[in-house]
């Protein structure tokens, strides 16, 4: 047992290493084609497989009111194949799709013409002059019938199936506020399959099974709404933001019915162009051998007019806002949110450190104050925790007993004030820096997670921002965090949410 002799001593004298500049060693190689397509590669010689991703700089930020969730829906539609993938008889199928588009154009025309009859006028969604018109019913029936015809002429899963057949895994996709991406992990000697399918998807997608697929989104939305927290969080999001689309969820119930092929096609044709696209590969490939391969499938695409950038901008913070939420299923809590800058702003990396350090600190303060509860600090809005535009830091204190809510709020606000005046303990900040560094390594060890981070930073700002972002977190001091809190944690930048059981007094 001699080997264990010093274990207790080790535990006691163990200390956190001091802050030091870390080498994150991200050997990202870049090639930009004449048409604007960006290729990023991390070479890992000898690896049998390669993680492959294609990022498009578009997402929920680019949607129109009434069509929320349309970007996410477009992602679903882009799994439905192309003329060469998924059709049993493209000539016949093409003709049916043309008829569907014509019928939908006529439907849109009729919906616009009847707008004053169909307009929802009730707060409780309870009054329209009429629900529909004979022409609308006729056109919808026609589209249903054409959908069935088209379905007979196509097969399902036309893209994934080939990925799977050739050893592809992680055949997923994601759409958030600022990006859409498609993923694949496949044997390295079959990487051309990814290029062939993605080039086809980018230019020739056929929106098959449009109306059935929209119901899949409804199911996903119902899944969200089954969680007691969803509607409260959405209310908090909209309390924080007034103009920015960051705060809007992936579709309200009315939106799903309003998606049109025409609108989806417009998003598709505007944003899925080479100069708005980044390809990322990590694994047993080299930049040198990928350049001609990518060129073979994407090189012929012409640079398109630069897609319109998102221009929503929050007005300057001007007043504290408050939400009182009554619920018997949601745990009682007080939550304070502040708007924070987006990735690319020099202050943004510090918020990662602040969130971790303040959470640990606040937990002990709350306990000392006699409030039974738990602290969670995050930067999540809808499903995403980092943005290239301003979003929010969310400081949540869940209490075991709703009668302690006032005390919890007083304690939280007092500690937030103190945060801008007194630095947090230096050893706590050092510990947090180490934690964030370790968490990053846990991300980077997984090529799929690493490729995502590279792509995400590219759409938020630039992939070149990633390494300085990590280094800035490593250099953060307790005094930096104090200054940060003093600058952002001010009353007029604050939104407060309080959750109490129905009937409880505050």
């Amino acid at each position: 047992m001699r080997i264990f002799r010093n274990l207790s001593i080790l535990a006691v004298v163990f200390f956190v290493s001091t802050a030091s500049a870390q080498n994150y060693d991200l050997p990202i190689l870049e090639h930009v084609y004449e048409n604007g397509l960006r290729l990023l590669v991390i070479e890992r010689p000898g690896e049998d497989r390669v993680v492959s991703k294609i990022f498009t700089d578009m997402g929920a930020l680019n949607e129109t009111p009434g069509q929320y969730g349309a970007a996410h829906f477009l992602e679903h539609l882009m799994f439905k194949g192309t003329p060469t993938l998924g059709s049993l008889d493209w000539e016949r199928e093409k003709e049916v799709h043309a008829q569907i588009r014509a019928a939908e154009d006529a439907l849109i025309e009729e919906l616009n013409r009847s707008r004053n009859d169909l307009r929802e006028r009730g707060v409780f969604h309870d009054y329209q002059h009429s629900e529909t018109t004979p022409r609308i019913d006729e056109l919808r029936a026609l589209i249903d019938s054409l959908n069935r015809q088209a379905q007979e002429l196509s097969e399902e899963g036309p893209m994934k199936v080939w990925y799977q057949a050739y050893g592809g895994t992680r055949t997923t996709a994601t759409t958030e506020q600022e990006y859409m991406k498609f993923d694949l992990d496949l044997p390295v000697d079959r990487v051309e399959l990814f290029l062939r399918v993605e080039a086809d998807r980018m230019q020739n997608s056929v929106f098959r099974n449009f109306d059935a697929e929209r119901m899949v989104l409804v199911e996903q939305r119902l899944g969200d709404l089954n969680r007691a927290e969803t509607e409260y969080r959405e209310a908090m999001n909209s309390l924080v933001g007034r103009a920015s689309m960051v705060y809007v969820p992936e579709g309200y119930s009315n939106d799903f019915q309003q998606y049109t092929r025409r609108y989806e096609r417009e998003l598709y044709e505007t944003y899925f162009v080479p100069n708005n696209t980044t390809l990322i590969f990590i694994g047993g490939v080299t930049l040198e051998n990928m350049i001609p391969k990518v060129d073979k499938y994407f090189g012929h695409m012409e640079r398109a007019p630069e897609p319109a950038r998102y221009q929503g901008r929050e007005p300057l913070p001007s007043a504290e806002k408050r939400l009182n939420w009554r619920s018997n299923t949601l745990a009682p809590r007080v939550e304070v949110r502040y708007q924070i800058p987006g990735v690319g702003h020099p202050d943004r990396p510090l918020f990662d450190v602040l969130a971790e350090a303040f959470a640990a600190h606040l937990q002990s303060v709350v306990a000392e104050a006699g409030v039974d509860g738990s602290v969670d600090i995050n930067t999540r809005v809808v499903h995403t925790s980092r943005f290239g535009v301003p979003a929010s830091i969310n400081i949540e204190l869940l209490v075991d007993d709703s009668s302690q809510i006032n005390k919890a709020e007083d304690t939280l606000l007092a500690e937030l004030r103190r945060l801008g005046e007194e630095p947090l303990p230096a050893d706590l900040v050092a510990q947090v820096r180490k934690k964030l560094r370790t968490e990053w390594y846990r991300t980077a060890v997984d090529p799929n997670a690493l490729a995502f981070q590279i792509g995400h930073f590219e759409v938020m700002d630039s992939w070149r921002t990633l390494e300085p972002y990590l280094e800035a977190r490593d250099a953060a001091t307790a005094d930096d965090l104090r200054l940060l809190a003093g600058k952002y944690f001010i009353a007029k930048n604050r939104s407060v949410g309080v959750v109490l059981p129905e009937g409880a007094q505050q």
Binding site: I3, F4, L7, S8, L10, A11, F14, S17, D48, R49, F79, T84, L85, Q151, E156, G157, K160, V161, Q164, A165, Y166, G167, G168, T169, T171, D185, P187, D189, E192, L193, R196, V197, A199, D200, N204, N209, D211, A212, M215, V216, V218, E219, Q220, L222, G223, N226, Y297, H300, M301, E302, K434, K435, R437, T438, E439, Y441, R442, A444, V445, D446
Partner: protein, 460 residues
């Protein structure tokens, strides 16, 4: 003139100028992948302990895992396994206080997981490479000599006793989050009703339990020949092998406990079990037990399951619920085997209540069809490629996945024969094999149907 027209078309729509070969005509190379040779990673100690070690230095992290053939059904004295799990998770090695143990984990920024399954336990510690010495010492000490006290028994009582896990009964409501988990829990409660896998210690049994019982359970099962180790990360393999010899070498060999073979399940007739819920969706679980498949049938079962519903997007189940009709976001199968007894084979979906019956009918239609008709050549081609060149390769994707897969295989089967022959066995599966697997492992007359949500249909 025709040439001019063609040129005009090419210039007008440049994307159409590209002729894309169909994937099957791209000349993609056949796979020449071979599974890494276990011998290259293996360290066998004289006391019977076997470790798999490899360097993976992309980031300065190290992961170490221990796999022990001891789980919830292994204990003679009920509650001993659960109490030991608590000790491993919360108390740490006996020479440290629980607080020091937790402080050390926190200061190392460690990820520490203890998972106890029915027949085996996994302990994993992931730390920065700079903390390797400290972590390795704690890890080994924890395995060899965990601190066990009454507090562990008390905590285990609170988390395991039946009253803490009340699902609401057949007439109760399931209001809590994770309704699919609730439906699956109901399924297992039903199929394991009188089976050791369904047995949970009672409060009285915990009250009868003593620290000595838990220590005895540990002493019996946590022996070198009854566990395997995996270490991967930014390490020097020779150095780690030396450390493992130092740290484990003086652990005396002990008798390896005999494997407890679990009895088969007595199947019930097909039945519907309805559990009300007031959510916006309903959840459906259809299934029965899954007897252990002999080696010669495993590959055919995997192919059949892949075609039907194994958790991916291009299955028969997904096509006939989600894609064609938009009924649901997911309809998948879950083959959850056990090491030494019957597991569960379920098909799961969820939807708005008004279409849950359609989902049930379509899923049942597929369950019957796969037993009556041969699958297509195309389905076989896709499933074999996906299993042999996709899922199988991913098991050995990186250093940790590799050592973990090898360590688990060795512990469960005592050798690496299954993984050595897996690709060949998958390639050799015929359509007839798939039909036979479906007829043997999918039994409509025994399906238990769990409906969590609004009442929607009756069994025919």
């Amino acid at each position: 003139m025709r040439k001019l027209l063609l040129l005009a078309v090419l210039f007008a729509t440049p994307s159409l100028a590209q002729v894309l070969a169909h994937p099957r005509d791209m000349g993609l190379p056949d796979s020449d992948y071979t599974r890494p040779d276990p011998v290259e990673y293996q360290l066998a100690l004289e006391n019977g302990l076997i470790a798999y070690v490899t360097e993976a230095d992309q980031v300065p992290l190290v992961t170490m895992s221990a796999f022990i053939r001891a789980g919830r059904v292994s204990d003679e004295k009920q509650g001993a396994a659960e109490s030991l799990q608590d000790a491993l998770k919360n108390s740490g090695p006996s020479e440290m206080s629980g607080d020091d143990f937790k402080t050390s984990l926190k200061q190392m920024t460690a990820e520490f997981v203890v998972e106890m399954h029915e027949e085996w336990t996994e302990i994993t510690l992931n730390v920065p490479a700079e903390d390797l010495d400290q972590a390795l010492l704690i890890f080994v000490r924890l395995l060899r000599d965990p601190a066990i006290s009454d507090a562990n028994i008390e905590r285990a009582t609170g988390s395991v006793a039946p009253e803490a896990n009340d699902l609401g009964g057949e007439s109760g409501t399931a209001l809590y989050e994770g309704s699919m988990n609730a439906a699956v829990d109901h399924f297992y409660e039903i199929i394991y009703k009188d089976h050791p896998y369904g047995r949970r210690p009672t409060t009285d049994e915990f009250n009868d339990l003593r620290v000595a019982d838990v220590a005895e359970f540990h002493a019996r099962y946590f022996v070198p020949g009854n566990m395997t180790i995996a270490v991967a990360g930014a390490i020097d393999v020779d150095e780690i092998n030396g450390r493992l010899v130092d740290l484990f070498g003086d652990w005396a060999a002990a008798d390896v406990p005999e494997v407890k073979q679990m009895p088969a399940i007595t199947r019930s007739r097909a039945a519907l079990h309805h559990f009300p819920s007031n959510k916006l969706q309903s959840w459906l679980v259809i299934g029965h037990d899954l007897p252990p498949a002999p080696l010669e049938e495993q590959a055919a079962f995997d192919v059949m399951d892949y075609i039907m519903g194994a958790y991916h997007m291009n299955t028969r189940m997904m096509r006939n619920t989600r894609y064609k009709y938009g009924y649901t976001n997911d309809a998948s199968s879950f083959a959850e085997d056990r090491w030494y007894g019957p597991g569960g084979y379920t098909y799961r979906s969820y939807s708005r209540p008004e279409v849950i019956e359609n989902i049930y009918e379509n899923m049942m239609g597929e369950l019957i069809r796969i037993r009556n008709e041969e699958v297509s050549d195309h389905e076989m081609f896709v499933a074999k490629g996906a299993l042999a060149d996709g899922d199988f390769q991913v098991r050995y994707l990186d250093g940790y996945a590799l050592t973990r897969s090898l360590a688990l295989e060795r512990l469960r089967y005592g050798n690496h024969d299954r993984s050595a022959s897996y690709v060949q066995r998958i390639r050799g599966v015929t359509k007839e094999d798939v039909l036979n697997a479906a007829r043997k492992y999918l039994r409509p007359d025994s399906l238990q149907v769990i409906l969590l949500g609004e009442e929607a249909f009756e069994l025919e």
